[in-house]
Amino acid sequence: MGDRVAIMGVGQTDHRYMRPDVNHEEMIHEAVRLALEDAGLTIRDIDTVIFDNMDLFEGHYLADAMTVDGAGMYLKPGLKMNTGGTSGGTAVATGWQHVASGLFETALVVGWQKQDASPSIGSLVTAREPLYDRELAAGAVGIFATMGLQYMQETGCREEHAALARVIMADNARKNPHAHLKLEITVEDVLASRVLVWPVRLLHMSPTSCGACALVLGSEARARKGPKTPVWIRDLETAHREVSVFRGGCVEPRPQVSAIEVAAGRLYRRNGITDPAGQIDVWELYTPSSWALFHWMELFGICEKGQAWRLVEKEAIRLDGPIPIEPSGGVVSTNPIGASGVIRVAEAALQIRKEAGERQVAKDVKTAVATAWGAGSWIVMFYLTREA
């Protein structure tokens, strides 16, 4: 391993349902400028730019080429990432690798999506094998429906618990000025909302959002000179599962193999993490539906199998609870997909810097885990710390 890598700057747009006031490049530029300001740098200080979105959502192939100037890529080396829901996570991971390798001292990571361009479900269904199951696929919603149903069948969890998880995330989102949905909702409201694919209701699903998020990553020498407290990306891990489980709608007979469990196991072993719930102070899990939360909590080792709904019932995941999760309001409140993975890392960094404003968790945050998830089986996870 080469150099240590820190987050020097964080910038994001206010995320909205539509941004008819700007084009792709202008929206991206808002976040890039904020991240550079936060890092106390100019575009000349940036050695490489890692860019991500999913072209199909805007129907715009080579969106990276079209937005070079606004993203600050003009004549700079860089790469474009596109790995579905994990795109933002993959972009941060790539930026981290570029700096950790010692080849670049600074990297700008830019993730964005403008979902006012098309009905996203049309693009999402193309993530399915065309001949075998595209015409049956119910987009991402169907995945969470089968997950939710399976979880209820195997534990004591009821619909109310997923609804409570959603309410807690909404309570956090209302404290986040950047969040898209800032809903004032109760468990009853969630349970009364329209069924999309049972048991997933409208309020359980992430919205389609427009927004961008940028990070400036720097080597230790550079980060120590910056105006902000460096937040260290101590380690990261990725794992991909074979696609056939996805073809089967994310449901397979037991025993299942989870990419999340495999990735988390590797990352925890390398970093001496034996009690994730006790050693990680805050979690930004990429939870596109409140129904996914229980699975994520158990697969990331936050609790024993079948117990996550009990922690939610006790409201242990609130900002002032022992295991704060999704302080930003999460992906269910804000989902500009290509930016979502970057936003998770940005939020974890803000929590460690204690710059999260009203949504700052009560605990003294020294460590955080941020993740990105997608395609039914892909995971990217980051371990962030305050101490180098």
């Binding site: 941004r19 490049e25 530029h29 715009h60 100037d69 606004g70 004549l75 098309s118 009905p119 065309p130």
Partner: protein
């Protein structure tokens, strides 16, 4: 003015509805033709939006000057790539200029606005520092040369896109 609303998706879908989902082209090897029928909307944003509205409403070609490097861009970008500045100084450029270069395509595709020959010109408008690519018309492709003076011919019915300029034609031969 009535409040602006985006085009509803339902209206957009009507423009892309295919007749069939799959057509089996071969059984062994198994090859199927499928469809991806999507309608997208694109918001031009304030800078390109003004450029196209000026074309549509006033037959004016507008450029924008970067204060740092002084470049007058036509069409106008939101950000000057080399300076990373947001240009704000609008300048009207002439609807005529010099043909810097040209080429002629002897095939055309459904996406092309005209049939063959498709004659392209790279035009440096008077007052601009960058070249605008557009179509040439009322011209014999064999008589083209760099340095020719050309002028914009606007369409009568304009919609707010780059084809509101019908084409550029040589000044002398008009």
């Amino acid at each position: 003015m009535a409040k602006w609303k985006p085009t509803p998706y339902a209206d957009m879908f009507d423009r892309v509805r295919p007749s069939e989902r799959f057509k089996i082209l071969s059984l062994d090897p198994f090859v199927a033709q499928g469809r991806l029928a999507m309608a997208y909307r694109y918001f031009a944003g304030p800078v390109a939006g003004r450029f196209f509205r000026e074309l549509r409403d006033h037959r004016r070609i507008m450029g924008i000057r970067c204060r740092t490097c002084g470049t007058v861009y036509v069409p106008p970008p939101s950000v000057c790539g080399q300076c990373f500045e947001i240009p704000t100084e609008w300048v009207e450029v002439a609807p005529r200029g010099i043909l810097e270069s040209y080429t002629c395509a002897n095939y055309s595709l459904p996406v092309h606005p005209v049939s063959t020959p498709v004659i392209y010109g790279l035009v440096r408008l008077d007052g601009a520092d960058t070249n605008l690519i557009h179509l040439l018309g009322e011209v014999d492709p064999h008589a083209l040369r760099s340095g020719l003076e050309v002028e914009a011919v606007f369409k009568e019915e304009r919609q707010g896109n780059i084809l509101d300029i019908h084409y550029f034609r040589p000044l002398d031969e008009a």
